[in-house]
């Protein structure tokens, strides 16, 4: 479904990604782990072109999104993204946060979008917050809304960029719970996270990104039980 070929990304003289190759199939749950500065977030942000790759190519369902003239906006409609800092639209109510994009892009009528939003809000248990503003919500609630906002576009794949890193510890669980349910529903997911428990239980594959390349890739059982790369062994010994 997503195919990444020899992806490079530099910020000035700093080469963050040094040739990433990977294939993601439909329905897979890919969890990416790595130390800070390893390039894992940059990799994820390249997938929906929030970062423009320096070289290499990315194909989504056979279409090269890195080609000049590719319709980036249309491609992004199919790729939901959840950010570390939620990034809910501060000037809009929760309902408007969720319905803005589908209505503005002409995918759903106002009524459809509203109905859809209420159904999704019910799924994450936040129906009563429909008329609230983001500033009135806790971090965990904001992140659940952010997930709902992406889901309202009916995406084919969801990208998560450290979705629980900015949360108070007691709120991590409620967000991971929503992500687990989403995974069970068959959504294709790419998740950058430090939650090893989530990786172990939900991932179909775990990737270790280090020094701008994928150093190790395996099923969660093998990945955590028999890490082969020395840097990964060192990393796991620190976080587990």
């Amino acid at each position: 479904m997503i195919s990444v070929r020899d992806l490079h990304k530099s910020f000035g003289d700093n080469e963050v990604l040094r040739g990433i190759n990977y294939e993601i199939d439909k329905g897979e749950k890919i969890v990416i782990i790595g130390a800070s500065g390893s390039g894992k977030s940059t990799f994820l942000r390249c997938l929906n072109l929030l970062e423009t790759p320096t070289s290499g190519s990315i194909f989504v369902e056979g279409e090269e999104i890195t080609a000049p003239g590719a319709d980036v906006n249309r491609i992004r409609q199919k790729m939901g993204m959840v950010f570390q800092h939620f990034n809910l639209f501060a000037n809009l109510s929760i309902m408007d946060n969720i319905t803005l994009a589908p209505v503005m892009l002409g995918l759903q009528s106002k009524e459809e979008a509203k109905e859809n939003a209420l159904r999704l809000l019910q799924r994450v248990g936040l129906t009563e917050k429909a008329d609230a503003y983001p500033a009135q919500l806790s971090g965990g609630q904001k992140q659940r809304i952010a997930i709902v906002r992406s889901l309202a576009m009916n995406p084919e794949v969801m990208l998560f960029d450290e979705p629980t890193s900015a949360l108070d510890p007691e709120m991590v669980g409620e967000v991971l719970e929503v992500m687990r349910e989403l995974a069970d529903s068959g959504m294709t997911m790419v998740v950058v996270t430090h939650e090893m428990g989530f990786a172990r239980e939900v991932a179909s594959k775990v990737l270790f990104v280090d020094e701008g390349i994928i150093k190790e890739e395996n099923t969660p059982q093998e990945f955590f039980a028999n890490p082969k790369d020395a840097r990964l062994q060192e990393f796991l010994s620190k976080v587990l």
Binding site: N73, I75, G80, M81, N87, L105
Partner: protein
């Protein structure tokens, strides 16, 4: 007749001199409001062009569209530099005696000068406001498939407007008072109206204080309206 009433009569009642004040006030308000309109329009456009340019990556600035944006950005930069770098009075005199020599209406010259002048300041205010909005807001909009313009219009500008409102009000108040230099091109606005009375009756205090109080009242009015607007805009901040 007391000294005060005698002067008051002389300054305002005799020969209908109060007309200098009321007619002047009309001109001041007309020039300020029209300049405000022009200035805000110029300011928003220039501010957005400057931000749009600065927020694109080098890659996105390639090609025809990128080149146009680069050229526009340069024009906007030069405009802001020249307008902010020279006194409004000099601009007014240049406009009246050099550029628009054939213009019949002094009001027109004043409106254009102050509109262009104010636009430069409003542009910088808007640029600052837009830049102050967390870049995650733009990323979130773009990640949903909205275009740059759509995200700007629905997400960034409303938040930026709220953030810059106090600075905008400040600029508008400055504009109102700055129109008092229109006397230099012989436009009889409020200040000059008061000054004409002073020159006729040789009483300085009463006409000038009157003019000052009128300006102060107008500023208080603007402040009052701005306070209400701010309160309404703060709706989304409630915790």
């Amino acid at each position: 007749m007391s000294e005060f009433t005698r002067k008051f009569y002389q300054d305002f009642i005799q020969d209908n001199r109060w007309h200098f004040i009321t007619d002047g006030l009309k001109i001041t308000l007309l020039v300020t409001l029209l300049a405000l309109l022009i200035g805000t329009l110029i300011g928003i456009v220039v501010g957005i062009v400057r931000c749009a340019h600065d927020q694109q990556t080098k890659n996105e600035l390639r090609g025809v569209k990128g080149s146009i944006l680069k050229a526009l950005n340069l024009i906007c930069k030069v405009y802001v530099t020249i307008i902010r770098g020279t006194p409004a009075l000099v601009q007014l005199l240049i406009m009246y005696f050099v550029i628009l020599v054939t213009a019949r209406s002094k009001v027109f010259v004043a409106v254009l000068t102050f509109g262009i002048n104010s636009g430069a300041y409003v542009a910088e205010i808007f640029r600052g406001g837009i830049m102050s909005i967390d870049k995650g807001q733009m990323e979130a909009g773009r990640s949903l498939g909205l275009s740059y313009v759509q995200t700007m219009y629905k997400i960034i500008l409303p938040q930026a407007f709220k953030a810059v409102l106090p600075s905008l009000v400040n600029e508008f108040i400055s504009l109102l008072k700055e129109t008092s230099i229109c006397g230099y091109i012989g436009l009889n606005e409020l200040t000059r109206g008061g000054d004409i009375i002073r020159g006729t009756t040789f009483d300085a205090m009463l006409p000038l204080f009157t003019v000052a109080i009128i300006y102060l009242t107008l500023v208080l009015l603007i402040q009052g309206v701005a306070g209400r607007v701010e309160k309404r805009l703060r709706k989304s901040d409630v915790r």
